[in-house]
């Protein structure tokens, strides 16, 4: 069942001379983990803003085509209605945080859902623990580091337990191990609770392994859409400026030299190492 569906979607910001996205038609199935990537300025963030109705309700501008998210026509439902179904983690956490304490920031969305006190307490603690900021809960979100602010923004969205989570480069300020932990948490929610995840990322070395579906955009258009192993394995992908994982690149280089490796493109170093162990050990025996 599709939870996000766009048909020929185009959008131009007010005062801009050309559209930021044009003719975008994609379908995201329930429970998928989708990775959206593409060169800087290609329209990834703009597309995310459409998923919860920030476009067109907040940004105004001109939206054409169709967009349905969680069975609702986004153009006909305000962002506060969409927010019950779609949680959006912004690229810049400062744009998202405003309360006097981290705990209040995380609780804010829940107050708006009209939950009881006990349920709210439970969900806030759960989200603070998942993102590893429970001990910071009484601090102001504006006095912690950029990486910690990103955790707060993620916690605020997780606490809402939406069906769809959209994350726009959510860990760019975090160190790699912290980033990996956050991605693991999100992946767990996806696998265990069936939450649909849409992740915008440039760093495919860190994230490709989680994705079951990848969308690559360039200049406002979708240029590839499908299975990550097929798409990241294609030469054209690299040419438009997508930084494919190094393990995938090394695999391509070795295949080109005629090394006999599995035809399934690896997305992580572990997968490629297993292939290599196979061929190297065969040689040892021979």
């Amino acid at each position: 069942m599709a939870v996000i569906e766009t048909k020929d979607l185009s959008y131009t910001y007010p005062g801009a001379s050309r559209p930021s996205i044009s003719g975008v038609s994609i379908t995201v199935e329930k429970g998928e983990f989708v990775l959206i990537t593409g060169p800087s300025g290609c329209g990834k963030t703009t597309l995310c803003r459409c998923f919860n109705g920030l476009i067109p309700h907040f940004y105004q501008g001109e939206l054409q085509g169709e967009i349905t998210v969680a069975n609702m026509d986004v153009t006909k439902h305000q962002t506060h209605e969409m927010a019950k179904h779609v949680g959006l983690v912004f690229q810049n956490p400062e744009n998202q945080l405003f309360a006097l304490s981290i705990e209040k920031d995380v609780a804010f969305g829940l107050e708006n859902l009209g939950l009881g006190r006990e349920e709210m307490r439970k969900r806030v603690d759960w989200a603070l623990n998942l993102t590893d900021i429970y001990n910071l809960r009484e601090r102001s979100p504006h006095e912690v580091s950029g990486g910690q602010q990103q955790r707060v923004a993620i916690a605020s969205v997780l606490a809402m337990q939406p069906e769809i989570i959209v994350l726009d480069e959510p860990t760019s300020f975090l160190d790699p191990i912290s980033a990996e932990k956050i991605f693991d948490v999100i992946y767990e929610l996806n696998k265990r609770l069936g939450v649909t995840v849409v992740l915008v990322e440039h760093r495919l070395d860190l994230t490709a392994k989680y994705a079951g579906h990848i969308v690559i955009m360039d200049e406002g258009k979708v240029c590839f859409d499908g299975d990550p192993r097929k798409i990241l394995g294609a030469e054209e992908t690299r040419l438009i400026g997508v930084g494919i994982p190094k393990a995938t690149l090394l695999y391509q280089l070795l295949k080109k030299e005629g090394v006999n490796l599995s035809s399934i493109t690896p997305l992580s170093s572990r997968e490629l190492a297993e292939y290599l162990e196979g061929v190297l050990q065969t040689h040892d025996r021979s």
């Binding site: 005062g15 300025g41 810049n92 950029g146 160190d175 191990i177 162990e277």
Partner: protein
């Protein structure tokens, strides 16, 4: 030359962000500072242009003690690009943003125009000359912040997380630009979590943890030291990960470059065949 001598730094809330840091960065050196969030990386680099002055110890830029000079004087020689471009951008158009510092430093009108054009072109921003920086994407705003500093051609460049929001092509351009700066004898210091970018550049790498330097050396050696990396919350670059998995097969350990990796594996296959 940047000399840091046993620097301690306390923020007003008594948090000791630097606990005795010493290092020397020579002219023309390319240094990447890496480490956990809150390790003191940004605090350290803010000492390089006098934004912060040490609570104890000394920082000297080309022999001048930063406590004895002004930020304005230091800024002419040491350009600083912040992690979050929104902390740095405020003009109405990209062009004004880039020419702002040039005007402040008293460049002539002709020079301002030339340098602005050069910086716009270098960072692929020419088409946005008249656009408001706030209409641009996160990655593009980051490049505007960088362009506005490059335009005045400082002797040393300090970049806090320069690769955030940048795609592969932009990163490659940044890498080439840094190499070019080095060949002109200029110093480049970056703070980054982007281990793959560092692996491609192979600069001198400094690892920090809890206000101290815990490792300092060639990228190739530091980025293949699993213990030091784990200590500073960094994952191995993918190529190094692959060679770690294959460690029982007797490969060298300090490999971070994809093309070097390819050559080594092909050679091993070749030898296996004989």
């Amino acid at each position: 030359m940047i000399e840091v001598e046993d620097v301690h730094f306390f923020y007003s809330n008594q948090v000791e962000a630097l606990k005795g840091v010493s290092l020397t960065i020579k002219n023309g050196e390319f240094l990447a500072i890496m480490g956990q969030n809150g390790a003191g990386k940004t605090t350290l680099i803010k000492h390089f242009n006098g934004l912060l002055k040490p609570s104890q110890g000394k920082v000297r830029i080309d022999g001048v003690d930063t406590r004895k000079t002004s930020i304005a004087t230091l800024a002419r020689n040491v350009g600083f690009v912040f992690q979050n471009p929104d902390h740095q951008l405020f003009c109405e158009t990209v062009e004004e943003e880039i020419s702002f510092a040039l005007k402040n430093f008293g460049f002539e009108a002709g020079a301002i125009e030339k340098r602005t054009d050069w910086a716009l072109n270098l960072l692929g921003l020419t088409q946005y000359r008249k656009t408001s920086p706030f209409l641009l994407s996160g990655g593009e705003r980051k490049r505007v912040a960088l362009a506005s500093v490059l335009a005045w051609d400082p002797e040393a460049l300090i970049l806090d997380e320069p690769t955030i929001g940048q795609d592969y092509r932009q990163k490659e351009k940044l890498r080439q630009f840094i190499v070019q700066m080095q060949s002109q004898g200029k110093t480049v210091v970056i703070v980054t979590h982007d281990v793959e970018f560092v692996a491609e550049c192979n600069p001198r790498v400094l690892l920090m943890k809890e206000g101290r330097i815990i490792a300092d050396g060639e990228g190739k050696d530091i980025l293949t030291d699993p213990e030091a990396l784990a200590n500073s919350s960094i994952v191995l670059p993918q190529v190094a990960q692959i060679f770690t998995y294959l460690s029982s097969l007797g490969f060298p350990k300090n490999i971070i470059d994809v093309y070097e990796a390819k050559a080594i594996i092909l050679k091993a296959l070749e030898e296996g065949r004989e």
